[in-house]
């Protein structure tokens, strides 16, 4: 028996969907630009079986990959579960066998030693293959046409970390992928293995080093010469796991630390910088300027996740779970281990920001992300008491002028992560933004496509699904040339 009735967060729009889907020739409001040839691929999760613990992290949801395939102005949708060993084991037992987020001590004994990964974070197209990524395990290869799961992938045995980040970076100049695994040698180890993988998928370089404390290393940034690796207040320990707690807790006394790692250097060449407590979960971009590294990201004041509570027993503070687009400057010519930080915009934003990826490592002008505009209407009687609490706008943030252009999704909508799709041979910022809106009133999901240079004019097309798509963590545009699409 599958019973979600005692899961208080899984009601209404957020009730599990539990099905796989194919929708051919989707309903479209407006006109899909014919120049879009590829797929918007989303990865996220849904609970196929109820969690063992009501307060577990949503990061434990079963992975679900889905794509909007664009060709000749027509859009088809396909969604499939990522068929991990965990998903299959649960299915065979007809119940959830796995316990709290990244805590095997809370599992049913029958699954001891099995890959616990749910593969629910980021889709990746690289070296002609489609992958799902989850930072606690290896990537899983997925068939880009059927979305069926092929299995874990270790780059011909040359990728030796047990884990693989959800946020590798591909250098647009060389096509190389910079990627890493943390807790690389197993649960609670303080090892990071950093890799350079060429555009054909061959591992070219491995660098092993240790972090000052075991912490979440969720995202990085790259310049032409360096890799920027932030770690911050999330802590973990074997004792904590044996007590049956979720993997991460928040320790406000831990400084934010940032490693500046030379891309062609050794562990001894790494510079560690230290700053006040922050949470840099996702990044925008970075660049070299002389002896300085300039790094920009939507950075939280403190712990953004209520399901990873403070270790001192205090209450999670939503007023500090706000991200601001900030610039941090690291002076490599200085012996000081501090850095400077400035807020580039005074408004708080979603930390799921994107740039035109062709400008990674370079000076760039535009960042895109979602934000909550409390001045816009929200019809609470149709959509619940969420006015001011949901991201209802996408913004284009001009780092050169400090101005922001805005797209509004609607009075019963919240927006998931934005994605930027560049126009072929276009200048920076020329192209489309894409992202899925949850329409709480109509109980359906809508893919937004808007001209990135004319956000105020609204969407050029809206692809309507006749149901609620599973929750997305990250979505990526994959051009037809990147994958062997049928």
């Amino acid at each position: 028996m599958v019973d979600f009735s005692n899961q208080p967060t899984m009601k209404g729009f957020f009730a599990p969907t539990r099905f796989e889907a194919d929708v051919y020739d989707c309903e479209v409001i407006g006109k899909v630009p014919a120049e879009l040839n590829g797929a918007f691929v989303r990865l996220g999760g849904d609970w196929f079986y109820p969690p063992k613990f009501q307060d577990d992290s949503p990061f434990s949801m079963d992975g679900y990959i889905n794509m909007f395939r664009f060709k000749n102005g027509i859009v088809d949708y396909k969604g499939r579960w990522v068929k991990t060993p965990r998903f299959k084991a649960d299915g065979a037992a007809h119940k959830q066998l796995f316990g709290k987020y990244r805590n095997p001590f809370t599992d049913d004994p029958s699954v001891k030693g099995l890959d616990r990964s749910v593969q629910n974070t980021t889709p990746l197209a690289f070296a002609g293959k489609l992958f799902t990524l989850k930072e606690d395990s290896l990537p899983y290869e997925i068939d880009c046409n059927t979305l069926e799961t092929i299995g874990p992938y270790n780059f011909h045995g040359k990728y030796r970390s047990l884990t693989f980040t959800a946020h590798p970076k591909v250098d647009p100049a060389t096509g190389e992928m910079i990627c890493y695994g943390y807790e690389a040698e197993g649960l609670e180890t303080n090892d990071v293995f950093l890799y350079t993988i060429d555009k054909k998928g061959e591992v070219k370089r491995e660098l092993r080093f240790k972090v000052p404390y075991v912490s979440m290393v969720h995202d990085i940034s790259i310049t032409e010469k360096y890799v920027i690796i932030p770690i911050f207040g999330f802590v973990s320990s074997m004792e904590r796991l044996k007590e049956g707690k979720v993997h991460w807790g928040w320790d406000d006394t831990k400084p934010a630390m940032v490693a500046i790692v030379p891309r062609d250097g050794e562990a001894k060449d790494i510079r560690w910088f230290k700053g006040p407590s922050r949470a840099t979960v996702h990044t925008l971009n970075a660049r070299d300027e002389g002896d300085k590294v300039i790094f920009e990201a939507p950075i939280y004041d403190s712990n953004p996740f209520p399901f990873f509570p403070p270790v001192d027993g205090s209450k999670w503070d939503p007023s500090k779970a706000r991200a601001y687009i900030r610039r941090q400057t690291f002076n490599l010519d200085s012996k000081d281990d501090g850095y400077t930080e400035e807020k580039l915009f005074e408004m708080n934003v979603s930390d799921l920001g994107r740039v035109d990826d062709r400008y990674l490592t370079q000076r760039y002008r535009y960042a895109f992300t979602a934000y909550a505009d409390k001045q816009r209407p929200f019809e609470e009687w149709k959509a619940g008491n969420l006015g001011g609490r949901v991201n209802n706008c996408y913004g284009r943030f001009d780092l050169a002028t400090g101005k922001m252009n805005s797209y509004f999704a609607g009075p019963t909508h919240s927006l998931q992560e934005v994605c930027f799709v560049p126009r072929k041979n276009g200048a920076e910022g020329e192209g489309y933004i894409m992202g899925v809106a949850s329409n709480y009133a109509e109980m359906r999901s809508e893919l937004i496509i808007a001209d990135a240079q004319r956000l105020e004019e609204g969407d050029v097309a809206r692809v309507v699904l006749p149901f609620r798509a599973t929750a997305q963590v990250h979505g990526r545009w994959m051009d037809a040339g990147e994958l062997p699409f049928a």
Binding site: K315, K382, A383, V390
Partner: protein
Amino acid sequence: MDENSFRAAAKLTRRTFVGVIALGGAALALPAGALWAQVERAAARRSPVVSFHMDQPYLDMTGTAIPYYPPPGVRSGESAARLSEDLFRSMLL
């Protein structure tokens, strides 16, 4: 004021007044402390509440977060089959 009450009032010097206040404060302190402890215990016993953060509901175990109330009726996933035709249509409008 009669003579007796006048004499009683005359005996209430500033020193005796301060003494009475101090004694009264001490007498009140114990119940107030006990009351505060009760408030804290009650807060600790609060039921978890469904709240909303990052476009997702979450379970706030402290029970102190702003609750999330989804819209009523079919839009909250309630079965439409149980509703009368009139009620169903009223919810769609």
